[in-house]
């Protein structure tokens, strides 16, 4: 079978599964859940096939699918994966069955609509990671909002409507300016080449003047910075994460946040290399602020879920640091850390969900000494917490170490500040663990909590397995992304030379040039 077909299949199988699921009657809840789980599992296995066949030595796009879509405006149906996106595709397809499995007993009302939303969301997320056409990417990017909005708003917690609306409006603010920028690129490409197209690979070839790059970079960066989320655009995250149902939080943290960093890697850096180099100090500063700020706020949280939510801000800061330090090591670290964060934080939310299902509270003060009633859970939570804070031997260490080593070469100050952030991560995670799991079992309600059942172990075990695999032998994954990352870094190094020349010119002249448009 043609690899391009498999890529198509991986992207759309959840959607096809969703259509079939719509025909299953609402009362057959077990069948609905099983079918959704089966579809997502098959999608996962297909994506593993893609992963195995992926050639890590080839920096270009592989498994491409290219058909004409809206020929009158030049939009094409162009899919493909490179080293960065293949890892994210596998992450997505891994997280989905785990998320569906985790909601087996948690979601009791409107199961059919829930599964429909989940499967639709999966296709939309996969579409974002594999699209190589700007319009197609935008369609998938926005399409992902609707099911997420429903997931938070219908099956969420108390303040769910507020959280869902905040999530949608925040994300849309960013993406709407990205749309203007996409249109701008489209017309610019026509001016340069005479061809109307939205194809990313074609647009990558044109040399955009720095003044224009400046503004386009900001437009795209806004959309992605809100998604990451970078400080100070992060305020939607705690609400969305806390109010979402467990599976929603797992997907949000595991996959959705990565779309922001992926966007930087796929669009901002290759399309606007000089602007990226120029803006790198700003973004690095925001990244480090995110690391430290996220960690400090996590330390004072009383709700476990909110603590984990803010820890995401902190971890994503490391990824952004890795990306904008622009060395091969730091970027590889950023890429692998994307996967790691998905696994570790996904697992953390999974654990929080398990506790919540038993006690219907997430207040740290309500717990204490849970190790005594749930020893298996305690073991798993410890492994996950240690992975999140970067203990050597587990996955978090690989990513953070690469990022820090890489960024120390180019931006040592930021690297040092970020290293301090690791200490704080240890503080909030270990302190939380101690307060919840260790110590005397004071609260009577915690005494007879059932330990993990088979299904729950099945959801968390794959993640634990990967935590160890990436921690001990990360090469399996790193070698897939190596070539693509190296190509990107080379492009950045070339850009650095040119930015030196630009810095000598007057800023205002470059950024606000004469009118660029064709006047009618």
């Amino acid at each position: 079978m043609n690899m391009g077909t498999i890529l198509n299949l991986v992207t759309y199988l959840p959607l096809i599964g969703m259509v079939i699921l719509m025909m299953i009657p609402r009362s057959e809840e077990k069948l609905l859940k099983s079918w959704a789980f089966l579809v997502s599992l098959v999608t996962f296995f297909l994506s593993v096939v893609l992963f195995v066949r992926f050639d890590g030595g080839n920096p270009n796009m592989q498994f491409e699918v290219n058909h004409s879509w809206i020929s009158s405006i030049g939009a094409s149906y162009h899919l493909g994966v490179d080293g960065i996106s293949i890892l994210l595709v596998v992450l997505t397809t891994l997280i989905m069955p785990i998320a569906i499995l985790s909601s087996w007993t948690a979601i009791t009302s409107r199961v059919k609509e829930y599964m429909i939303a989940m499967l639709f969301l999966e296709t939309a997320m996969l579409g974002v990671f594999v699209s190589l056409d700007l319009l197609l990417f935008y369609v998938f990017w926005e399409a992902m909002l609707i099911p997420m909005y429903l997931l938070i708003g219908v099956w969420g917690g108390q303040r769910r409507i507020y959280a869902a609306l905040k999530f949608v409006i925040f994300t849309m603010v960013g993406s709407i300016f990205m749309l203007v920028a996409i249109l701008f690129l489209y017309f610019m490409n026509h001016t340069y080449t005479g061809v109307y197209t939205f194809d990313l690979l074609a647009i990558q070839k044109i040399q955009i003047p720095f003044g224009v790059q400046f503004w386009l970079f900001i437009a795209f960066a806004l959309a992605f910075a809100i998604k990451v989320p970078m400080f100070p655009f992060h305020t939607w995250l705690p609400d969305a994460h806390v109010e979402a149902p467990t599976a929603g939080s797992i997907i949000l943290a595991g996959v959705l946040l990565k779309m922001g960093t992926y966007g930087f890697l796929r669009f901002n850096l290759p399309l606007f290399p000089q602007a990226s180099v120029y803006f790198a100090p700003v973004l690095l500063a925001l990244a480090v602020i995110g690391i430290l700020y996220g960690a400090w706020i996590s330390m004072v949280q009383k709700d476990i879920k909110k603590l984990v939510a803010y820890s995401s801000v902190s971890h994503l800061g490391f990824i952004m640091l890795g990306i904008f330090a622009m060395t091969v090591e730091s970027m590889q670290g950023g890429v692998i850390q994307m996967i790691n964060h998905g696994i570790s934080t996904g697992a953390l939310f999974l654990a929080v969900g398990m506790i919540y299902e038993r006690r219907h509270t997430r207040e740290i003060s309500e717990f204490g000494g849970v190790t005594q009633s749930m020893p298996v859970f305690a073991a798993f939570l410890l492994i996950v917490a240690l992975s999140s804070l970067g203990l050597p031997g587990l996955n978090g260490f690989v990513g953070e170490f690469l990022v820090l080593v890489g960024s120390y070469q180019t931006v040592p100050v930021f690297a040092v500040l970020a290293t301090v952030g690791i200490i704080f991560a240890a503080v909030y995670l270990l302190w939380m663990y101690r307060r919840v799991m260790f110590g005397p079992l004071v609260n009577k309600k915690n005494q007879n909590l059932p330990d993990l059942n088979g299904r729950e172990i099945a959801t968390i075990l794959p993640l634990i397995f990967l935590i160890f695999w990436i921690g001990i032998y990360p090469s399996t994954f790193l070698r897939k992304s190596k070539a693509s990352v190296e190509m990107l870094v080379e492009k950045m190094n070339l850009a650095k030379v040119e930015v030196q020349k630009i810095k000598k010119k007057k800023f205002a002249d470059v950024v606000f040039p004469g009118s660029f448009f064709e006047k009618k």
Partner: protein, 478 residues
């Protein structure tokens, strides 16, 4: 006096108009002479008439000519506009199939009046002379005035008819005065000759001509409810019967823009660069006012009225752009707008229940789970109106933004985009009510009549087809 020669070929060029007029007259007579027929006979006969007119319209495909001595123009724009008007009329007539159950009034004149209004719209779309535009406009408007007040025992309906009539008459007065001044300056009302006149000296139009075009813009501005000529829209839309509101919101607006395309985008295009400044301001004002006031509406009809004002602002962006892309973008947007608006009104007409008592948005609560089809249809229409992919609304806005950006109007596009964002909030409010709130009394919502079901089906299919595969439609509009 110039002579007007009418060839036999000319009759064919207004074939849809003639067909529909004949059907309209026939329906009036049918209603008078056989009043005891089933109340749905006349709308269904009207649908037959629209079908025949649609066939006649396809006969016009591929022609490009000016007939009736320069009064009527047939080209691809005409065919598309006729298609839009006829489809709107058909779908609105289908809405009356269930509406006549919910509201107790005599419906005999309803179908023929709709057909006559459509005749007026089609004339506006195929006009090559300002007088024909006026003729079409009046035919459409008078029919709509009566239709708005059709529920003659309901105060709101009567108020809406009277408001519409008074303000419409004033606007027509402005339009006619503008036409007169233009005639005075140019010497003819034929659009082609006006274009040639302006082309001779585009930088120094006479004051008479400037005032003339200005007053014409005011007249049209009223008809498509641009700000600050929009004040009648919410009250008239709220008071008129639901199928009429649906018909007005789509058809009357499309007809107004048809006239604007004919006059401003084609005829006065050289002079229009003076007017682009004013139109730019009108577009931004219209979008912003419509969206902001819609934020605080709790009545679904008023919300949709303000939303239609905002959409007129987006379409005006296309007029401002004035390049080869803009007419195509406007027509595509009108088709998309037709589907999403009619779908929304279809669901609203069902939910509003008997005598339209339940028109507040809170009555939509829980609809998503108690009546899944209605909820899904409304959700799809709301997402499309907000401009979220992969719907027709997104493609339409995208195309309009492209046209505007191509001519260099960056700030206009930024305003458009910010307004789309603001609109998301009030469209999503309906979705929130439907899916995230507890249901209200469900028994008061009538069953889905097949006619309305057909409208909803057409709307959903149209929205997704245009959203995912707009290529066919776009290449048709070349």
């Amino acid at each position: 006096m110039p002579t007007i020669s009418v060839n036999s070929g000319d009759i064919l060029s207004i074939a849809p108009v003639i067909v529909l007029s004949i059907f309209g007259i026939y329906l009036v007579l049918q209603g008078i002479f056989a009043p005891r027929l089933h109340r749905l006979t006349l709308p269904y006969l009207g649908l037959v008439g629209i079908g025949v007119a649609m066939t006649a319209n396809f006969l016009l495909l591929g022609k490009t000519e000016t007939t009736f001595s320069g009064m009527i123009r047939v080209d691809s724009i005409t065919v598309v506009l006729n298609f839009i008007f006829l489809t709107t009329a058909a779908l609105s007539l289908l809405l009356t199939t269930s509406y006549s159950d919910q509201v107790k009034i005599e419906f005999i004149e309803f179908a023929p009046l709709m057909l006559f209004a459509t005749v007026g719209m089609m004339l506006m779309g195929s006009a090559a002379s300002l007088m024909i535009i006026f003729l079409g406009l009046e035919t459409m408007s008078i029919a709509l005035y009566v239709l708005a007040g059709f529920r003659r025992h309901n105060r709101r309906s009567l108020e809406s008819a009277l408001k519409y009539f008074l303000l419409g008459a004033f606007a027509t007065g402005f339009l006619l005065y503008g036409i007169a001044l233009t005639y005075g300056a140019v010497g003819t009302t034929e659009l082609q000759k006006i274009t040639e006149f302006i082309a001779k000296d585009p930088l120094h139009p006479s004051a008479l001509l400037v005032f003339g075009i200005g007053l014409i813009i005011v007249g049209f501005g009223f008809k498509v409810a641009l700000v600050p000529f929009h004040m009648w829209t919410p009250d008239v839309y709220e008071g008129a019967p639901m199928p009429v509101t649906a018909y007005m919101a789509v058809g009357a607006k499309a007809a107004g823009f048809a006239a604007i395309i004919r006059v401003l985008s084609i005829a006065a295009i050289q002079i229009s660069y003076d007017w682009t400044q004013i139109l730019w301001i009108l577009a931004v004002l219209t979008m912003t006012t419509g969206n902001i006031i819609a934020l605080v509406q709790d009545n679904i009809k008023r919300m949709l009225a303000y939303s239609s004002i905002a959409h007129a602002g987006y379409i005006l962006m296309g007029v401002v752009a004035g390049n080869d892309l803009s007419v195509r973008a406007i027509l595509f947007y009108l088709i998309a707008y037709m589907f999403m608006n009619l779908g929304a009104f279809a669901v609203a007409s069902i939910v509003s229940g008997n005598e339209e008592r339940r028109v507040k948005i809170e009555y939509f609560s829980g609809l998503g789970f108690s009546r899944p089809i209605l909820g899904l249809a409304m959700a799809v229409c709301m997402f499309s109106l907000a401009g979220l992919p992969p719907t027709a609304g997104f493609m339409g806005k995208f195309y309009l933004f492209s046209a505007a950006l191509k001519s260099g109007y960056l700030w206009l596009v930024i305003f458009g985009v910010i307004n789309s964002l603001i609109s998301v909030y009030y469209y999503l409010r309906v979705v929130v009510a439907m899916y995230m709130q507890d249901p209200v009394d469900q028994k008061a919502i009538p069953q889905l009549a097949p006619g309305v079901g057909l409208v909803i089906l057409a709307a959903i299919l149209g929205i997704f087809y245009l959203g995912l595969f707009p290529n066919a439609m776009l290449s048709l509009l070349q």
